[in-house]
């Protein structure tokens, strides 16, 4: 875990290069067919979920804003596929992907986004506050960096309770400039708690390029300031993500302490509903889309004869249907009653 893989993602590599690298990098990842299919399907589920959310937002079907995960699917899916029951995550404002990767019900998620009583938070949290504490998702968070110390606290619980549970802490590139990042990584390091920090570097914090907002090339370098391992990986390569996460999680689970993983990726949609995306070019977006994490994986599944075209069409249809069902469920669900306004303030 100590060597750093430095990768500049200024210019996305071509599809061909990407594929070659996928297979080569993934050569030491042994996953069986059903696991591969599960990864693929979960990525699809996230993608179609987000597309449905986007459409609903455009149609004014729900109240509030949302931050879409399209383009980053390989990170959530690769990491969470390595978790066991009892493991936990903390998530961010851009949290739908993490929830789905943790196995959340897309019905309850969609209902929550629609502000309905059947949602995870009875419609009181909305898109930015989906959580399933019992299921290990300690919550998305509206405060950039807000979840980082919370993850360290969850890991501390596991340590003090003598449980072998690991906590994954997801956050964006922009969050690494918050004081909470610094304080939390230091705490995790000195207490050696079982947490893995996963920084999804999608190049931007809202409109700000991380290249302008920091003076370093790889955010994983910040690990050195805390005496922990840091590694930068291709966040669009689900198997590379999975492989790296596996090592870091194992390391954490058995007393090796925290790791900082920087997964370089890209967000396809605007930051949130109000974003006109004037800070980046359509060309840039198009170039990144050529390295779409789902397409990359799809191709290697086809090439490896794990799936054929018809399998894929079927799976997409199934997932789309699942998402349509979630939308219908959300639409048809009841709103919370007025007395919900006053409930759940105190235990």
């Amino acid at each position: 875990m100590n060597e750093k893989k430095i990768r500049t993602s200024e210019h996305p590599v071509t599809k061909e290069e990407a594929l070659r690298s996928v297979s080569s990098r993934s050569s030491n990842v042994h996953i069986d067919k059903s696991e591969a299919i599960s990864l693929y399907k979960t990525m699809l589920r996230i993608r179609y979920f987000e597309l449905a959310v986007e459409k609903a937002l455009e149609n004014g079907e729900f109240h509030g804003t949302t931050h879409l995960y399209n383009g980053q699917e390989a990170v959530a899916v690769g990491v969470c596929s390595e978790l066991r029951t009892g493991d936990m995550i903390t998530s961010t404002h851009r949290g739908h992907g993490h929830s789905i990767a943790m196995g959340a019900s897309v019905r309850k998620m969609m209902a929550e986004i629609y502000g309905k009583a059947t949602g995870y938070s009875k419609g009181k949290g909305g898109s930015m506050h989906i959580a399933d504490v019992a299921g290990g998702n300690l919550g998305s968070n509206g405060i950039v960096g807000g979840g980082i110390p919370i993850a360290v606290g969850a890991a501390l619980s596991a340590q003090m309770q003598r449980k072998e549970h690991v906590t994954i802490c997801f956050f964006g590139d922009g969050a690494t400039n918050e004081g909470s990042f610094h304080e939390s990584l230091n705490l995790a390091s000195i207490w050696n708690v079982p947490v893995v920090f996963v920084c999804e570097n999608n190049k931007y914090g809202m409109s700000s390029s991380i290249d302008v907002m920091t003076n370093i090339t790889d955010l994983s370098k910040r690990a050195d300031a805390y005496g922990i391992s840091g590694i930068t990986i291709d966040g669009n390569d689900v198997l590379q993500v999975k492989q790296t996460a596996r090592q870091a999680i194992e390391h954490a689970r058995f007393g090796g302490g925290p790791t900082l993983i920087e997964a370089k990726t890209y967000r396809y949609k605007g930051h949130s509903r109000s974003d006109k995306q004037v800070y980046r070019s359509e060309r840039e977006v198009a170039a990144y889309k050529k390295r779409d994490p789902i397409e990359l994986f799809e191709r290697s599944l086809l090439e490896g004869n794990i799936l054929d075209e018809s399998n894929i069409v079927t799976m997409k249809d199934i997932v789309k249907e699942e998402i349509n069902d979630a939308v219908t469920f959300a639409r048809e669900s009841e709103e919370p009653t007025e007395c919900e306004l006053y409930r759940d303030v105190y235990a």
Binding site: K124, G179, S208, Y342
Partner: protein
């Protein structure tokens, strides 16, 4: 006269001061090419460049502290905190540093700093993006606290705040950005500490702040049709607070309601109500009432969100009740 939005009025004030005073500069997250989360600073980067319209990393404590340091050394920084909820991260610099430096240094320094920040609910952004915590800063000696409720006030108060020479916190309201009003093209100042009687009336005084000013005015309109004459006063600045204008009105009407969006419990309305109950004691024909936000986090669901804070109909209802109150009951 010209009609522009509250958003444009603020932008004009910023633009004017950026042109007028080279010490003035803006810093904040996404205020440059993005134009700020609510579009207030749109176009200013193009006009004034990246040095004076300075995009920052997501570091609320750091950028506020930088502004304190710059203010202490001859600049006039204006910090944009993207949502007022994020002020929770910057309070050491505002409360322990900016507010106290002049006093702790025996008057031999000043911190001419403006913090602009949008507050309030109504956009479905839920509990962490919808708070109204202006009472917190009004509790702190050394700070001034401004809450413009109209486009006209926004421009005049913003210019006055930038020129004030003290740390001034300006709470803008998200739902007001699109509201229009007549605003002179020329720069003008509204003194900090001067309330505005937004509507004259004789039966009851409604002291309203922020978004509740608009709602109180709508309620007053409805109540007028029911034969109740409501005087609506907007303090505009919580610190300094224009006690005289409020007390004069209550002495005239004999009844007072204080209303704001912020949670009622320990909100600034308690301060205003306490002042009235004390200093207009003899004039009061009914108890001073408060109408503030419920003691709940702001929920995402639209219907619940609306119920969490006072709406026009709530103002109407409570005023009617207060008018039915008789001192002999």
């Amino acid at each position: 006269m010209r009609t522009i939005t509250y958003r444009e009025a603020i932008r004009e004030a910023l633009q004017y001061k950026l042109e007028d005073d080279e010490r003035v500069f803006l810093l904040g997250e996404d205020i440059g090419i993005y134009g700020g989360a609510f579009g207030v600073t749109k176009g200013l980067l193009e006009q004034f460049g990246t040095e004076r319209v300075r995009d920052t990393p997501i570091s609320e404590l750091g950028i506020t502290g930088v502004a304190v340091g710059a203010a202490l050394t001859g600049m006039r920084p204006i910090v944009d905190i993207q949502f007022s909820d994020f002020l929770t991260l910057a309070l050491d610099q505002i409360v322990n540093q900016a507010a106290k430096i002049r006093y702790m240094f025996g008057g031999k320094a000043s911190v001419p700093l403006v913090v602009r920040t949008p507050s309030g609910s109504g956009t479905g952004a839920a509990a962490q993006h919808s708070q109204s915590l202006e009472a917190w800063l009004a509790h702190i000696p050394g700070l001034k606290v401004v809450q413009p409720a109209t486009a006209y006030d926004a421009k005049g108060l913003m210019i006055a705040a930038i020129e004030d020479g003290n740390p001034v916190i300006i709470y803008e309201h998200k739902l007001l950005y699109d509201k229009t009003g007549t605003v002179p093209g020329q720069p003008y100042r509204i003194p900090l500490g001067k309330a505005d009687i937004k509507r004259q009336g004789t039966d009851i005084t409604v002291v309203a702040t922020g978004i509740l000013v608009q709602r109180a005015l709508q309620a007053a309109h409805i109540l007028a049709q029911k034969g109740i004459s409501v005087e609506v006063i907007d303090p505009r600045t919580l610190v300094p607070f224009d006690e005289a204008t409020v007390l004069e009105s209550v002495r005239k009407t004999g009844r007072a309601l204080v209303t704001h969006e912020a949670v009622e419990r320990a909100g600034y309305g308690a301060e205003i109500a306490s002042i009235i109950a004390d200093k207009a004691f003899h004039a009061l024909q009914a108890p001073v009432k408060r109408l503030g936000g419920k003691a709940v986090p702001i929920p995402n669901n639209k219907r619940l969100e609306r119920k969490a804070v006072p709406q026009v109909e709530d103002v109407v209802t409570i005023v009617e009740k207060m008018m039915n109150f008789s001192i002999t009951t």
